[in-house]
Symmetry: C2
Subunit: 369 residues, 2 copies
Amino acid sequence: ATTSGKTLTVGLIPADGIGREVIPAARQVLEALPSDIMPARLRFENLNAGFEYFQKHGVALPEETLVALKSECDGALFGAVSSPSHKVAGYSSPIVGLRKQMDLYANVRPVISSEASTASGKKRAIDMLIIRENTECLYIKDEKQYEDAGGKYAIAKRRISEHASQRIGDMAFSMALQRDGMRQLATAAERTWSGRPKVTIVHKSNVLSVTDGLWRETVRGVYEGNEKYRSRVDVEEQLVDSMVYRMFREPEAFDVVVAPNMYGDIISDGAAALVGSLGLVPSANVGDNFVVGEPVHGSAPDIAGKNIANPIAAIRSAAMLLERTGYDAAALAIYRAVDRVLADGTIRTPDLGGSSTTTEVVDAVCKQL
Amino acid sequence: ATTSGKTLTVGLIPADGIGREVIPAARQVLEALPSDIMPARLRFENLNAGFEYFQKHGVALPEETLVALKSECDGALFGAVSSPSHKVAGYSSPIVGLRKQMDLYANVRPVISSEASTASGKKRAIDMLIIRENTECLYIKDEKQYEDAGGKYAIAKRRISEHASQRIGDMAFSMALQRDGMRQLATAAERTWSGRPKVTIVHKSNVLSVTDGLWRETVRGVYEGNEKYRSRVDVEEQLVDSMVYRMFREPEAFDVVVAPNMYGDIISDGAAALVGSLGLVPSANVGDNFVVGEPVHGSAPDIAGKNIANPIAAIRSAAMLLERTGYDAAALAIYRAVDRVLADGTIRTPDLGGSSTTTEVVDAVCKQL
Ligand SMILES: CC(C)[C@H](C(=O)O)[C@@H](O)C(=O)O
Ligand SMILES: CC(C)[C@H](C(=O)O)[C@@H](O)C(=O)O
């Protein structure tokens, strides 16, 4: 795709806490990309959302933000959102709303480390891609409270549809193939996964035989109905509880992992623990026409405003945004710059045991570009 | 309580796979208890349940089993159940049914290790007690499939009640106090947790504000309404995704953890990864009048029938049964015998890197009694 002469407009939604530090950090790295690597001109739109915004204006995801994203932006970066410490009437998580409103149906989370500390006490190379369904499951937030003779009770609905399972299944298998293609280009030393590409389908159909039954059969159906997938990708299933167990014992056993929304949320935070810090793990919320990069970490109110938040997850999320919008070379340049800074090890924020500032990490990454 | 001269009748439900090896193993250890330590006479009732039983008889948890448990047994041991690899009409997990039918509303899972390998690469002592609500959440299995213009979809209901949250909350705080009492008796070297007792309430109320909102407020209410808890126990909250992350980074930060059913299922398998093998972690399904000991591991069809399954989780579950039925000294004798065998390290099943058989582990534990 020829993209030169174009403009890439990126919506910036820092939201709460350290989101306000790591999103500007990611922007700085994007702006530091040399023009031979990043042929498009970059434009940024600052947009509002978040719990703090809700507290001032009564809305967590303002309509103007959605309108700006849809009409003016090619993609966006979202920081992190604070969770109220008690129930707040009318408040609903803006990131969950954003995923739904923009139909960003997949949350893609690469978890990579050349030497992760596992719970088996052995160091292992991990190269896992977690693909989390992003629009349904318990995240439809269809909940109600009742009261009867036995007291109060509440019911939440968990929705699994054939449609959503199909498209996320398809994304999982096609990404497994795509990753395999990339691996063929890597040197043997760079490769951590040497087998055939594999997709692990996570579920709990031994309890949820209807909803997770539909999930598992639909994802399997995508595989069985596609000769390219069948002939080139392996498929396995894993109950979510065993998945968490195995992930900590032998994370090297996983390639692409596809999971319904809530399991995916839990698994990806767990996987982040393996690579040293939540501050390293990026994600992309992906739809057919839009992408929102989002660090996996939260708003970390305890360290907000101190210039010590790790910006790497946000910077890598910006690279994922570039990858999905067609700027592979620019994305690769960022990934490599970050890897070099990490490998060098002198500049590290406190979550990685260092004492560098957010600014110092950004400068170090920019210097490597 | 004076229990001498009594009979303790234990229902044995091996169910599937290695359940048929580890439950007889646990029975052997119970039978080897010297009479000065175990004053009651032991009687055993062999009872049916499981997926294999379902395949032959069309029912996974036969009525006779429930009747025998209710009318003749003081407690029971459950092995493990196989999960069908595809949807099977009329099949429903017997362990989930058993918990519900006998109103075993708490699943108690101690996770203990003097040197667990964490994902931060540091060895840590863990002494965590996971208390999982056992009767509701998504485990009510109220699910239905529908079809509309958009295709098939399915809805599962997740139920959280004030009543169930209250009694499990109460169990969590009272166990935190009880553990603290026990710690006062331990030597400094034996103690891993040195602070005030603490209960961590797990939820995801940033998404499920109604159901997990009710859960969290109810459990907090138990704490705030009880002066003894308030003055002697600390309380904190943890979102389930961060919980899994933190558990792998700093498991030493947790004492008692209380969680709704599904989160509890996932967390406890995760915690098991920290202590070396699922084959070590016991649990007790506890109600007001009955207890069912149950190893946390599954039926492991791949190693079933080979006499290599680790019987320690089942043996420890038998000790938990004794503890809950008033035979503390006998329980303690079993815990110590197991600890000695583990510390010695010569007799280990393959899951722990050894090559001993199930029988050899049982013999070693009995010899230590
Ligand atoms: C903030 C929260 C609603 C969100 C989620 O559960 O999806 C977060 O944990 C994430 O993973 O992006
Ligand atoms: C077998 C399965 C239904 C069960 C559960 O999910 O409760 C198991 O994983 C457990 O933890 O006891």
